[in-house]
Structures are given as C-alpha cells and as structure tokens.
Amino acid sequence: MLHHARSRQALAGWFAVSLLAVGVWALTSCGTVARTVSVPLTIPGASYVGNQACAECHRNLTQVFGASPHGRYHREEGLRMAGQTGCESCHGPGSLHAQAGGGRERLILNPGKDAGACLECHVETHAELRLPHRHPVLEGKLSCVECHDPHGQDLFKAHGGLAMARVNEGCASCHREQARPFVFEHEALREGCTVCHQAHGSVHPALLVQRDVNLCLKCHAQPQAGVGLVNVGKMGFHTDFVRLGTCWTAGCHTAVHGSNLHPKMLY
C-alpha cells in the first residue's frame, strides 16, 4: 500500500514538473515567435474610424439605425470605450475596409455569417445556444440575421425599413407547418411562439419553456371546484390526466398549434 502511495506521489511530482517546464517554455519563448493569435472582432492592421465614416457609404442603414433596438447603444460620436457602440462594435474596426473602397465582406466582419460578434454582447444567448436543444447557430447551419434584422426597427421583422414586425413572422419563414392557419387555432399563437418556446435554446425538447402541464396552466389555470382537483373549463376530471403527463400526451390535446378537425385540438 505504501509503495503504491509513493508511486502516486512520484507520478504527481513528475506531472507537476512537466507542467512547470511547459509553462516556462511557453513564457520564455514568447520573444522568439513574432506572431499573435487572432482575437475575435479584430481585423489585423485595422483601427476604429467612427460611425460617421460608415454613414458616408451606408446611409441607407445608418439613417434608420437610431430607431432600431441597437440604437439604444448608439451615439454618432461614440462612447469612450471603443467598439462598444455603433457600427464597429459588430463589424470590427473599419479603417482598412474604408481605405479599400468598401466591398462586401472585404476587410470587415459580417455577423450575418459568424455569430461571434453578436455573442460578444449577448452573453446569455451564447450560453443558450450551447444547451442540449437549440437552433444550430454555432454549428454554422443558421445565422442570427435569419431571424433578426440588426439594423431595423424591430428585431423580429422580415422586411427592411421602419415597419413593425407581425407576430410570429420571423419563425413562420421556416416553421410553416406550425404557423399556417387552422380551422380551430390555438389562441396562444396570437401571443407569439415565445409564449411556449425558448427560441435560442432550451434544456427541453422542442425548445419548450416548460416541459410539463405548467406550460399550459399558466394561461389555463382557473378557479377549481374542489381542493386538489384540476378542472379545466366546465368539464372537469383533468386531475388524473395531468398526473399522467402533459396536456398534449396520452391522446388528448395533441394538435397543440391548432386543429383542422377538433375545436378542443384533440387531433
């Protein structure tokens, strides 16, 4: 037993020494490698030029940008901390882009292709996009701008200009099956998909906000006819059903987005 303990100590010692050696090598060799790693939102050799320079060519975007949600952080002459407000906080420093005469994706970052710029500020969204169930943004199959218009007045809008978005329009472009009309619609859809779904990512399948009957009961809870009973509408007897699982399981209200057959969305 003592022998094993000494072996483990020796192993740990060698590991510590090796780690120290690697660290010392890493630090002392800095001067021998004239290279820097690429830090996100930097463009090698570029510097910040300010919002006014961008406006000279991109006036169609800058003239309405102040009205957008991102305009909340926007000053024409900027804040003291560089890259915290305005165009270059998302697109990176623009001096080289301007000197090159512009050009799509030339010497400028395009957050539409890489969500990194967005996640610099939307830290909590970065965490949500790593949850088990998520829209595959970090996997490169979707981008933020497919749902959000970063320059427009409403982040959930499909069209340009100042117009306000219609509810669910952003989701409907991909999820037509759920957003199509139904003879008997679920009224919750009028309030928006996010009543039930957490758009960026969730720990639950189907990006649900909650996974049990509480998801439904937050809107459908009502006065009860007895203690411990769960009655929904004037037809009670839901107590045993909710103990079975959720409202949409066990062959009950399965048509959660709406039904073309049954007013209570049983099919």
Partner: protein, 781 residues
C-alpha cells in the same frame, strides 16, 4: 471625344504643385495616397459621382462629371485640380471628410498620371483569383444512446467528411465578379453551394442549394417506480431541411432595380415528438405517459419572389411580391395505451394530415429622407391565402389485428381562407440637441374562414370557424445623447386589438352529445410595453448599461353565444373566462470592464417576473354539478434570473483565452400547482464555455475548448413522480493543433470528447463519445 470636368477650365495650372521627378510605382507610392484619401468614396460600392478609382479602366472612364485623368497630362487632369484644392466646393477629399493631400502627395499623383497612370501588372485591372478549400475527415465513436448524441451534438457517429468549406472568387475585370462557396460533408448530410455572377453596372445571377440534417432522440419518458428502462423507438430519426434557389437581378444605375427568384424548400424525414403515449401498470392501473412517439414529415414549398425598387422624386419606392405554394403531408403515430408486460401496444392512433395552400403577398414600401433630421416611411402589405386539407385519424389495436382500424376522425373537405391588410407609417426625427424621436403606427386587419365536413364514426359533422381580427400598434421611442458619453432612451409600444370569433361543430347522429360545439365570442385586447434605459461609458476602460421594462397584456372576452346542440350550456372552452392579464417586469444591467488591452470582461444580470391573472364568471362543472367561484384569480407567477459573465484574456500576444459562465434560475408556479396534483416548475441551468489558442511556434497553434452545462429541474412530489423535468450534465472537450506547412497550406488535428448523463431518464439517454477530426486547408494564391 474627351470632355473635361466642369470647372476645370478655370484652373490656373501654374498654381499646381510640380510633379515629383522620379519614377513612381502604384503599389509603393500611389495606392497609399488613394487609400487614405479617395477609396472611401470612390471605391467598389456605391462610388460617389459614379467615379471608381480602384481599376485603371474605370478611373480613366471618369464619372458623372466626365473624365478625371488624362494620362500624360496631369496638369489638365481634373482629379489633380481637385486634390490640389483649386476648385471651390470640389476640394478632394471634401472639407471635413478627410485630411487634404500635401503638395508632395499631389506631386506624386501628378507624376503617376504623367507617367501613364499605370496600376502595375497585377493591380487595378479588377482581375484576381481567390480560392480557399478545406477538406475534413471525422471519425466518431459513441457508446450509449447514439440517437441522443446525434440530436444534441449535430454529428453522426462513424466516419464523416468531405469539403468542409470552399470559396472561389474570380474578379473578371470591368466590375464583373464570379463567386462560388459552400460545403459538402457526407455522413452529416450537410451540403451548401452558392453561386453568383455579378456585373456592377448591369445586375446579377445567383443560384444555390443547401441542406442540413437534424436528428431526433428516440427515447420516451422514465418512471422510476417501475424500475424499467425507458421505451425506445429504435432506428435513426432524421429530418432533412433543404432549399434550392435561382434568381437574377437588374441593378443598372438610373434604372429601377428589379429581381426575380424562385426558391424550393423541403423538409423530409422522421422526427420524434413529445406526444408520449400512456403506459399502464396492469395491477394498480396507474398510468404514465412515457411511450415515445414520432411523426413523418413530407413538406414542399415553392416560392416565387419579384422585387423592384426605384427612386421617384426623391422617394424610394420598393415593391415585393411573394407567391408561395405550400404542401405538406404529416403522419403522427402515438401509442394510446400500452400495458406493462405486453409485447405490443393495446391501442395505437395514427393521425394523417394533408394540407396545401397558395399564398400571395405584396408589400409596397415608400421611404423619403425629407430633411437631415426627418425620415419618413410608410407601407402596405396585402396577403391572401387559399388552402385545403384532409385529416384522417385511425385507431388500431396491435394486440388483436382482427380489430380495427377504426376511423375516429375523418375530414376530406377542409377549406381555409385568410386575407390580411397591413398599413404602417413611421417617422424618425432628429437629433436636435441630442434628442432623437421615432414614431410609428401600424394597422393590421386579418379575416380567416375555415370550413370542414367531418365523418365521425360514420356520422356527418359539419364545422366552421370564422375569425376577424383588427390590431392597431403605436410606437414612440426617444433617444437622448446630450449627456457626455451617454445614451438615454425610452420606448413605449401600445396595441389595441379587437377579435370576433365564431366557431361551431355539429354531429348529425341523432343524439345530443358533448361533441357538439357552438361559440360566438368577441374579444378585445390591449398591450402596453414600456422600456427605459441608458448606456454610459465615461472612461475608455468602463461601459455601463441598464434598462427596465414593463409589459402589460390584457384581454377581455364577451361570450355572445356559448351553447351546444345537447342543451348543456358552456360546453365551449373556457366558457366562463371573462378576461386574462399578463404583466411582465424585466430589468437588465451590464458592465463592461476593459482594464488593460489584454483583459476584457462583460458582466450581465437579467431578472424577469411575470404575473398571470384570470377573471371568470361563476360556473358549474358539467358532470359533478360542483360550483366554480367567479371573480379575479391569481393564475400563476413566474420568475427568472440570469447571471452571465464573459471574459477574454490575451496576457501574451501568443495566448488568447475566453470564457463564458452563465447561471439561469427560473420558477413557474400556477394556482393549480399546489403540490397535490401538479408541482411548481423550478430549476437552475449552469453553463460554462471556455476556449484557448496558443501560438506555440511560428507555424503551430494549439487550441482547446470546453463546454459544460448542467440543469436541475427535478420534480419530487409523490403523486406526479413522472420526471418531466430534467436533470443532466453535459461535457464537451476538444483539443487540437493547427500547423501551417507552407505559406498557403494549413492542417489541423483535433480530438473531441463528449459525455452526457441524465439521471432523470434513468441513464437511457446517457452517452460517451470520442472523435478525431482532421482538416487540411489550402489557399490560392
């Protein structure tokens, strides 16, 4: 015939700085001057006065004001007159928009023009080739639940690979450009190809195809007391999302911009659903909905888009038309009942739905920058949808194939029509003395009609539903920037809504029963959404932001009719609900600290609280006769807090480390979740993300990244021992090395390790995976 710029004739050439007396080279001597002072406005995109300086051909052709450069005659070249500041109101760069050129710099440009205005062999022709391609190969080994691994990690097990990314861009000169990019990864069935050809003065042609494949887990629920492994569907559940498109546009200057595009979208495959079926224990007859379910999806969409825009009398007019033909076939299969110990389900329901529609939508938008401080816009959207569908619901009994299947619901004649008109008008004013104002109104009217003729156990059952909705939105937003280094903002959004809804369903079976349904409801809704906040950065090393928001949504119902053919009142749901109010309060605070060049930290805190309230009339439960009390009822409340921290660290220029830490704590308690039947929904989610890159040598980088998340949504109340909540831990680690073999050839090798454990599924969803990734990237030139 060579013309001169207006005003050039009046220039006294003797006032020009002399040309430098040496041979100048474009890249070394001229390009830096043009890049600093000219390209910003006279570059590739939207060049001022339509004068491009990037290419020799375009530069010699001149712009709106005529020829700018005359090779060999710099003294007569208007460009030199302007950069020398000799023409009033046409000084270049314009006053206040750049630093005037020095006499030496003007002399260099003169010499360049006198020597022929050459752009060099490789520059200024607009001809170039850029090609980048990365090939990749991955091998992944998974032990445990492979379907869960595929669903969560978006990767398949075994070998996968192909072209991870490629980009080929060809500058053809004369403003013509070809570009192709995409990926082709077999195994993951992940494909993308985008092709485009553009001529800056004429238009573009583009086409493409892309597809990706999400997978579904195949496991149902777990119910601990049965001590059984959860049921699984088996097999691979995948659903391909794809689209292909082709389009062309006309973008010549001075003409209306027009484009036309055809797009084909599809979804095809299988996915698991959460319609878990009921499983019963044969002795106690206690049941839990834990049997997994799935759905077949076959969806096709054809979209034709026509877009046109033009400036007419200073007004930007844009019109967009979308014509969409949508068709889908869905088949959902759910086990209704399964008895423990059986080899097959007691009963199984298969709901097959077909649906298709044509929807045409047209949007007209007008925009006009009236003054520097006034921007107006308005628009009108009209859409019309015409659809039809069928539904067939069959129940079969696998334990006895001689029974059934029985058709529980059938409708072959479903018709849907929807029409919408939307108007909006908006104005953006200011800023005056730092104050900017945005105001907008939008009116949205929608009418929907639905009809069907169902067959319920052989009895005809006509049904219909009409919905008329009018909503008016108003928006007002203020932004104030007069306070140094500060933005103050306030926003208010209001909505008034009126809904008229009429629904009926009758079963012509000779009996009065509870399937009959008739409801006529008027509803009015109001929304008030307020937000105020600030952004402040008093020092270069600190920025602060904060906001508070209140959203109040209120609905009132007027039940004009609520009867059914059986004579039982109030069969319609919710029958006695008179109103609902949802109030949400939010606050957010953010601090960004950048104490040194090598350290930047963002700390964010968000809190949200929601109250749900319902108002009901008195009522009687239909079967028991028990009375419901009327009045206002606190239906539920929810709280959520999110703490997020993100740090980037570059202690040495060869080391970059970033990390994100997030904790989300949420709880929802409804008035029914009192512990006896339903427990509150509450839990925490922890997320840790980290990555590091270290430049080990001039040609070698070491990388590592780690992702961890953990959720704790366990429910412990005895009577609902079904863990619909989730407790899990998930780890993902990759380490690798990237090495540049030659100037344009890079290779990387990575190892990935993944682990997922979910005790609430009794381990049925657990997996471990190891993978090796190899990638080779080549750049040309």
């Amino acid at each position: 015939m060579v013309g001169l710029w207006s005003g050039a004739a009046a220039v006294d050439e003797s006032r020009l700085p002399p040309a430098v007396e040496r041979v100048v080279e474009y890249e070394r001597d001229v390009r830096p001057i043009l890049a600093e002072g000219c390209f910003r406005c006279h570059g590739a995109e939207r060049p001022k006065s339509r004068f491009r300086l990037l290419e020799r051909e375009a530069a010699l052709a001149g712009g709106e004001l005529g020829v700018a450069m005359i090779p060999g005659q710099s003294g007569r070249s208007p460009l030199i007159h302007y950069v020398a500041g000799l023409v009033p109101d046409l000084e270049m760069p314009p006053v206040g928009r750049g630093v005037p050129l020095t006499r030496e710099q003007v002399g260099v440009l003169r010499a360049w023009i006198d020597q022929g205005a050459s752009y060099g062999a490789d520059a200024g022709t607009g001809r170039f080739t850029t090609l980048r391609a990365s090939t990749a190969l991955r091998w992944m080994s998974v032990s445990g639940n492979a379907s869960r691994f595929r669903a969560q990690e978006w990767q398949s097990e075994g070998f996968a690979g192909g072209v991870q990314e490629f980009m080929w861009e060809e500058g053809l000169g004369g403003g013509r450009r070809f570009r192709a990019e995409g990926r082709l990864v077999g195994g993951d069935e992940d494909y993308r190809l985008q092709l485009s050809y553009a001529h800056e003065d004429i238009g573009f042609v583009r086409a493409g195809f892309e597809q990706f494949r999400p997978w579904s887990g195949d496991t149902g629920g777990a119910y601990g007391p049965w001590e059984l492994e959860p049921f699984r569907l088996g097999g691979e559940l995948d659903l391909d999302y794809g689209r292909a498109w082709i389009g062309a546009g006309f973008t010549a200057p001075d003409f209306p911009r027009m484009s036309v595009e055809y797009e084909y979208r599809y979804r095809d495959g299988l996915k698991s659903t959460l319609h878990w079926g009921a499983v019963y224990e044969p002795v106690s007859l206690s049941g839990k909905a834990v049997y997994p379910a799935f759905k077949e999806v076959d969806e096709r969409v054809h979209v034709v888009s026509l877009d046109a825009s033009h400036e007419v009398f200073g007004v930007q007019v844009a019109d967009s038309f979308r014509g969409e033909f949508y068709e889908t076939r869905l088949a959902r299969e759910t086990v209704d009942r399964f008895t423990l110990g059986s080899s097959v389900a007691d009963s199984l329901t298969r709901a097959v739905e077909g649906y298709r529609h044509f929807q045409g939508a047209n949007t007209l938008r007008l925009e006009k920058p009236v003054r520097d401080w006034l921007f107006l816009s308005g628009g009108y959207l009209y859409s019309n949808l015409d659809g039809e569908g069928q539904v067939r619901v069959e129940t079969s009994f696998p334990w006895d194939p001689t029974l059934g299947p029985f058709v529980g619901g059938l409708s072959q004649q479903i018709v849907l029509r929807r029409e919408a008109h939307v108007f909006n008008a908006n104005a953006h004013l200011g800023p005056w003395q730092g104050l900017g104002l945005t105001a907008g109104v939008q009116a949205d009217w929608t009418r929907q009609r639905g009809f069907g003729e169902a067959d319920v156990f052989g009895f005809p059952s006509p049904y219909s539903a009409d919905l008329d909705k009018f909503a008016s939105d108003e928006l007002l937003a203020l932004r104030f920037t007069r306070i140094p280094y500060t933005v103050l903002y306030g926003e208010a959004r209001f909505q008034q809504e009126a809904v008229g809804q009429f629904e009926r369903k009758l079963v012509d079976d000779g009996f009065d029963d509870d399937r009959d349904f008739l409801r006529d409801t008027d509803a009015t809704g109001e929304l008030a959404d307020y937000r105020v906040g600030f952004t402040h950065s008093p020092w270069q090393r600190l920025a602060l932001a904060g906001s508070v928001r209140r959203r109040d949504r209120e609905l009132e119902y007027r039940l004009l009719t609520d009867t059914d053919a059986s004579g039982l009142p109030g069969n319609g749901y919710p029958a006695f609900l008179l109103g609902r109010e949802v109030v949400t309060d939010e606050a957010e605070a953010k601090v960004v600290v950048h104490p040194a060049r090598w350290l930047k930290t963002t700390l964010k805190y968000q809190v949200q609280a929601t109250d749900y309230e319902t108002r009901t009339a008195e009522g009687v439960e239909v079967f028991s006769g028990a009375a419901f009390a009327g009045g206002t009822w606190h239906a539920g409340d929810a709280e959520a807090q999110v703490y997020s921290l993100s740090t980037t660290l570059t202690p040495w220029r060869r080391l970059y480390v970033s990390g994100t830490f997030s904790v989300a704590d949420s709880r929802l308690r409804t008035a029914v979740s009192n512990g006896s039947s339903v427990v509150p929904w509450a839990g925490d989610i922890y997320t840790v993300l980290g990555s590091a890159t270290f430049a080990a040598s001039a040609s070698t980088d070491l990388q590592a990244s780690y992702a961890f998340s953990r959720a704790d949504f366990g429910q412990t109340e005895a009577q609902v021992d079904l863990p619909l909540g989730i407790v899990y831990e998930r780890h993902g680690l990759t380490v690798g090395v990237t090495r540049r073999f030659k100037r344009n050839l890079t290779g990387s090798l990575q190892y990935g390790w993944y682990r997922y454990a979910e005790p609430t599924a009794l381990g049925a969803n657990d997996y471990r995976a190891h993978g090796v990734y190899a990638m080779l990237t080549k750049l040309w030139p």
